[in-house]
Symmetry: C2
Subunit: 163 residues, 2 copies
Amino acid sequence: MTADDNMRAEDGIAMRPFTESLPMALLKAREAAMRVFRPLLAEHGLTEQQWRVLRALAAAGDGLEVGVLAEHTFLLSPSLSRILVTLEGRSLISRTTPDHDRRRSLISLTPGGCQLMARFAPRGEAAYAEIERQFGTARLHRLLNELHELAALDFIDLSEEAG
Amino acid sequence: MTADDNMRAEDGIAMRPFTESLPMALLKAREAAMRVFRPLLAEHGLTEQQWRVLRALAAAGDGLEVGVLAEHTFLLSPSLSRILVTLEGRSLISRTTPDHDRRRSLISLTPGGCQLMARFAPRGEAAYAEIERQFGTARLHRLLNELHELAALDFIDLSEEAG
DNA sequence: TATTGTTATACTCTATAACTATA
DNA sequence: TATAGTTATAGAGTATAACAATA
């Protein structure tokens, strides 16, 4: 008889409660925050990922290279490539190829893309105002700061081959 | 000439910087945390969503109804249904139908599922230990608490039809 | 009739590899 | 040869609606 023959979940596994799991807490908080923004995205027929691309471009002001855009939005290049095709088809973004390196591609918002973002901005800010009203402005800023610092940590590799 | 004819992102859109966006900060922090766990999932050939299901079941101890499981894991029922088929095929979960209401279905970890979770647990805890070492134990607990409170807020509906 | 869960369908994203074109 | 980005392909999740079984 091996060790696990009669294992039952009720016997307890040495693991913290589900709700105290950091990834779950982050996901849950994100779902709560996104519930405020998702209806706005739906109105514009944009997915979360498409929105992240437009949002990154709006924040950058100047155009961004595809690789940089991928890093900023946490999208893989193949996903980003197709999203760019979609957004270009909707005339929300445009591409230019710098002369000094014709492999690269600079992505920018078109006037239409800017207009969409500008039209979104007031209600996006209203959503933030509501979050700040309920959660507290200073408290939200402290939370954002903690999240940035957590994200900046460089965790060791715990995978099999790494021991 | 309409207002947006010459809109350019460089002119600035009244919107907070991308990195100060709450959903992005939460996503970024989650990506950082998941970088620790993802290699462990890959070893077991599990997706994040499949893992959330197993994790919720392990934490629950007792079996969970499909609807409750969907809420706990932030999965829609059609997604969860297919995931359950997959996990059942791998003999990691099993179903029982309570006699008092034969529409319902109780999902539990099988011994094999328990074994997988138990085998994962030590390194999962090691990953947490590393996060706590770098970020601080008390600080992490404060962060988790803030995330729970943020998630518990009930934000107003800012969509078009709601005004 | 309402509820629990599954199935159907179309779309999107993920992930890895192979590829094109520049450098 | 190496790099930037795209295309190919397979798989998985998302989202809405329709459905079957049961209450």
